[in-house]
Symmetry: none
Subunit: 410 residues, 2 copies
């Protein structure tokens, strides 16, 4: 079954609203083995929506629409559907009664606009929407299924979950199996060189999704026999993970900070942080994981040099002779940190996030990082880029990966 | 000028990635008076992308594409563009040299995949991408402009801002003037009650954009005479800001952390932080502002109670008697903080981010915050919600707003 999504609304085209509905629907359909072939966002104009319906019906068995069902006059999806399917509108008593009951509870008086909203296309099978006033609509027209839903995300999700997906599952036989392999510290092109030769022996699809020093690899296959497909994907995943080696850190929705947290838990170790240029971002990443308090003690944000000296015991002389951005200073930060916070491992970061503060010798994007235990540390100096926020994010990822490697080696 | 956006990538269709690029581009084009007529998301398949290009070129003067420019074999946008425009590929020395310089800095070896990536459509005018390896491409083919950009958001934004928008602005005549008024600590409905009566006297459009304790109000108008339109919008903005009062904190892209930073700079005051449940997020927000080192000294992430005692001098007895989540403890955290870090003002946050740790008396989402100077503090206890990440973000916004109000009153 091949699906097209149509999202209707001027607000999508002028960028006032991000279309999160399509991703949600795409994933929900994907999980029951239906592939979305195309997504189209259309303005609130009759001719454009009608043209979108025609394009969609040509190449799809299933067309899911969201938006354009509200009570205001820019919402015209129903009229376009009637025009497209050559049918009239009828008054829906059941919808009117539902709205009446709903509004009585909230002490709202029904207006003419609400009566108009109860006019429904003759050919529609109505889907009850417990989250709002506009019902969903299900049509079978020529050889295509059309479904129209409100654009409000929680109303759409309710209708998909309770009405649309159950109906589609009943008629779908295709199965899709997917697995995501997560990597860090290796560029997409180098990963491809490791993975592509392996993949020749496996009949699975692959996609690379790079983002800020990490690359996710998605392996997938669809067909009729779940068990067989699951087996093929699993076998390919094992081979791919073996080929990647150290840069592999987790599957599916596992984040790097989650993977590092799991390693710390397994080894029963406690962590603390000392951040300068990342200004709290690394600690935020670590503590965004639920349950992180079982292995994260806390840290010091040593933005000013006084704080490096006062809270981390870094000698002002050391800063004066090597500069605040130096591995000598980040090493001293880890030592001072672990002397004052009862943790086993520390991470220290000092760098120039930019846009100011760069020099010839240490340009913007220079970052020094130390990870390790008292008397057993590992340090690196890297050069990232010119964008402040990306420098902060990339430095935190790099530091987490250094800690991950330290944990794997010890 | 009528534009179509084409976003390419299987990850969009299966819902692994939300298409935020289209909204960003839609808004950027809208701002220079270009209307997006349609957005289409397409899979990584030659025929489908080609069909998308054909549909787009039929009804648009401008086609902006994102995605499909990476080094792996699922990235095929360039081949499709060559096929569509009937041209070959040529090796781009300038691109190869740029990649070589970039990778030398990071100690990465160039592979054959990188050489392949330097093959470019003959008909393309290359747009230099300072944020990544794949350049943008500008084509004028028949009567339509085609632009191809990488799908990585910060690379796309760089190319749009520095290369594409300046070229398009030069050729546009409609003018759109808009101004955003930013507010914090007041719900959308209360804002509307303050603003709507004012707006009856002004012929400008309005949109409310709520997000995590803040509401942005956008006022806009378009037409042909820039000066007149600018005047009307400016007058409306002055009236709206006066009606809003204290919750107003800034314009356009000013963030709350930026506004607080400006207040600190004006008053010549230094800030420090003591975070428990927000785990570094508040400090990250503050230090995401360029130049924040001139007023932010640093802080302590006191996740474990030992750190509250060791680095902030909070008496274990106080924690035992009132609980770590109490205004007594956050007050002590500010006092200890300002005793050890040479700053004028401190913020302390302690709370239960969840999902675990809640009690009958202090459920998940309970957060205590203290702001102020030594001997002059203000504390509040609030109850947010059940989502860990939203609790962290909302608590940081609430704390920044408390500091803002403290600064305005002193």
């Amino acid at each position: 079954m091949k699906a097209t999504l149509l999202t209707v609304g001027d607000e999508l085209l002028i960028g006032q609203v991000v279309d999160t509905n399509s991703a949600w629907i795409g994933q929900a359909l994907y999980d029951i083995g239906i592939q979305v072939a195309r997504i189209e966002s259309l303005p609130d104009r009759h001719l454009e929506i009608r043209a979108g319906l025609e394009r969609a019906s040509e190449h799809s068995d299933l067309v899911l629409m969201t938006g354009g069902l509200g009570p205001t006059k820019d919402d015209i999806t129903k009229q376009v559907l009637c025009d497209f399917m050559k049918c009239g509108m009828v008054f829906s008593d059941s919808t009117y009664n539902r709205i009446q009951r709903l509004f009585a509870k909230r002490n709202i008086k029904l207006t003419d606009a609400h009566r108009d909203q109860c006019m429904m296309p003759e050919k529609a099978h109505l889907l009850i929407n417990q989250m709002g006033t506009a019902p969903g609509m299900w049509f079978e027209y020529e050889d295509t299924i059309f479904v129209s839903m409100p654009g409000v995300p929680h109303e759409m999700k309710y209708l998909m979950t309770h009405e649309v997906l159950p109906r589609l599952t009943a008629s779908s036989t295709q199965v899709l199996v997917k697995r995501t392999v997560r990597t860090v510290g290796i560029p997409e092109s180098s990963l491809a060189e490791l993975v592509e030769p392996i993949l020749d022996q496996h009949q699975v699809g692959i996609a690379y999704l790079p983002s800020r020093g990490q690359v996710r690899i998605r392996l997938y296959k669809n067909g009729l026999l779940r068990e067989q497909i699951q087996n093929e994907v699993d076998t390919a995943v094992v081979a791919v993970v073996a080929a990647i080696g150290e840069p592999f850190y987790g599957y599916d929705d596992d984040t790097l900070e989650y993977a590092v947290g799991q390693l710390l838990k397994e080894k029963g170790l406690q962590l603390a942080t000392a951040e300068s240029c990342t200004g709290g971002y690394l600690s935020h990443q670590i503590t965004s994981v639920a349950g992180s308090s079982s292995y994260f003690k806390g840290g010091v944000i040593a933005y000013a040099n006084e704080v490096k000296s006062e809270h981390l015991g870094v000698a002002p002389d050391l800063i004066a002779s090597h500069g605040a951005v130096s591995t000598q200073v980040t090493e001293a930060m880890v030592e001072g940190l672990l002397a004052s916070i009862p943790a086993d491992l520390g991470i220290a970061i000092s760098g120039i996030a930019g846009p100011g503060g760069g020099t010839e010798e240490k340009p913007v994007g220079t970052v020094c990082i130390t990870v390790g235990a008292l008397g057993d540390t590992h340090s690196e100096q890297i050069l990232i880029g010119k964008n402040r926020l990306l420098n902060i994010q990339y430095a935190a990822t790099y530091a987490l990966n250094m800690l991950r490697k330290f944990l794997l080696e010890h």
